[in-house]
């Protein structure tokens, strides 16, 4: 009897809850951590990769493409980077939807979609699954790091229920509570990108399960403004660039894992 209200996404339980949505959020809190920090002159995003291993073929992520391993951090549009936590397959479908929505805006208005609008487009889709049904909601939370001329740099978070909110710094996925309290202590209102990068990496290293940080466990991206064109510049780091960054921040793993370095 207790499971009577579990199976359908659109039926309230007697306490007024939608269990499937809550289960989806629960699934996300076990997913790899994604962390975002809004700075004065940019936005920083980092994510913990869960699918790792010596035998995994990562050759395609090392060169070509726009950076990133395609697991957690995606380029949604010229002006927005998305970080996903939850079911990767669901996320792929949402990323595809977001890219289409962004391009449709570009087609009609000949300008990049405002960041909040893009978040709203995805939330409308997600909300649909809490009311009109389907088999299950999207088991995905997203962070949107973006820029538009209306509000400059922005960071948004959306969850499976279709709620979204803007943040100065936030975290989704495993250990998000720990990360958020760390961010709350360390965040300063006029932080700059170069300090935000350090803050993100330090927070990541404290919340991730593994003791050492490295490109095989981490995805990283920064959105800034191009000095000359004044257009947003999204940079998703390649594994070699992540290792170089970690080394320069003094967070590189110890020398005993030399075999990983050789690869």
């Amino acid at each position: 009897m207790a499971r009577r209200y579990d199976s359908r996404t659109t039926i309230f339980s007697p306490e007024g809850r939608l269990y499937q949505i809550e289960y989806a959020m629960e699934a996300i809190s076990h997913a790899g951590t994604v962390l975002g920090v809004l700075a004065k002159d940019g936005v920083v995003l980092a994510a913990e990769k869960k699918v790792t291993g010596k035998l995994l073929d990562l050759s395609s992520t090392k060169e070509g493409g726009y950076g990133g391993s395609g697991e957690k951090i995606y380029l949604l549009n010229d002006n927005v980077i998305g970080g996903v936590a939850g079911l990767t397959a669901d996320a792929n479908s949402l990323v595809n939807y977001a890219r289409t929505a962004a391009q449709r805006h570009l087609l009609t208005y000949n300008e990049d979609i405002p960041v909040e609008l893009l978040a709203q487009r995805l939330c409308n889709l997600k909300q649909g699954y809490t009311q009109f049904g389907g088999l299950r909601p999207f088991g995905v939370s997203l962070l949107y790091a973006g820029y538009d001329p209306h509000y400059q740099f922005q960071l948004y978070h959306s969850d499976p229920s279709g709620n979204y909110s803007g943040w100065k710094a936030t975290c989704i996925g495993a250990n998000n509570g720990t990360a958020q309290s760390l961010l709350k202590q360390e965040y300063k209102d006029d932080i700059e990108v170069k300090d935000a990068i350090g803050l993100v990496l330090r927070t990541m290293s404290k919340t991730m399960d593994s003791t050492t940080l490295g490109s095989e466990k981490l995805e990283f991206a920064v959105l800034t403004l191009d000095e000359t064109t004044k257009r947003p510049k999204a940079k998703i780091y390649k594994p070699s660039e992540i290792d170089a960054l970690l080394a320069s921040e003094g967070l590189m793993k110890k020398d005993e894992d030399t075999e990983m370095k050789a690869a």
Partner: protein, 194 residues
């Protein structure tokens, strides 16, 4: 005959349109406002087939308002002009196209620049420093080539505009008698006497 002009200057766009509503050879009224205020920083002068102009300009006005209500953000001049162009491009490929020509002038509140767009019923869109529609354009454009200054103050801009209106009054057989002039700048839209 129907004529509209627009010129940009330092921080503003001046838009002028004649005020005649005519049918065949008969003037029906001489105080028609053919410049629509689309948003606090956006103006649109329209000309063309009489019924179409009203229908289309109201359609544009309401859609731009709808965007504002839905998204809380206002459309900038460039985005609005692109949307209008798309509407006309779709229209001309439909069964009953709108025959409407437009000058869209606006002040971009995020980049702090005045912007002017020339749009015709075929769905052509060009960003220009000055422009005109109708028979008046044959007289005014060469004048503006000579006298337009993108750094001109509002008074200088008005003087240049007056030159155009005077030239049209002097040389065009069917010149309109009266014009309505509106300006858009950082403070928004207002009508000015000329």
């Amino acid at each position: 005959m129907e004529t509209s002009f627009a010129i940009t200057g330092k921080g503003y766009v001046l838009v002028a349109a004649d005020t005649t509503a005519a049918r065949s050879i008969v003037k029906m009224k001489t105080d028609e406002d053919k410049i629509k205020i689309l948003s606090p920083h956006l103006l649109m002068a329209y000309s063309g087939e009489p019924g179409d102009t009203i229908q289309f300009s109201e359609y544009v006005e309401r859609n731009i308002r709808l965007y504002q209500i839905r998204n809380t953000l206002t459309l900038g001049p460039s985005a609005a002009a692109s949307w209008i162009r798309r509407s006309l491009a779709d229209s001309i490929r439909s069964r009953r196209p709108y025959a409407v020509n437009l000058l869209v002038g606006g002040y971009d509140t995020s980049s702090h620049t005045p912007e002017l767009y020339w749009i015709d019923y075929l769905g052509t869109l060009t960003k220009i420093p000055f422009g005109a529609h109708g028979y008046g354009s044959y007289f005014a454009l060469s004048l503006l080539d000579r006298y337009h200054d993108p750094e001109a103050s509002l008074e200088e801009g008005i003087a240049t505009l007056k030159r155009c209106l005077d030239e049209v009054a002097k040389r065009l057989v069917v010149s309109p008698g009266k014009y309505l002039v509106k300006v858009v700048d950082k403070d928004g839209v207002r009508e000015i006497e000329i």
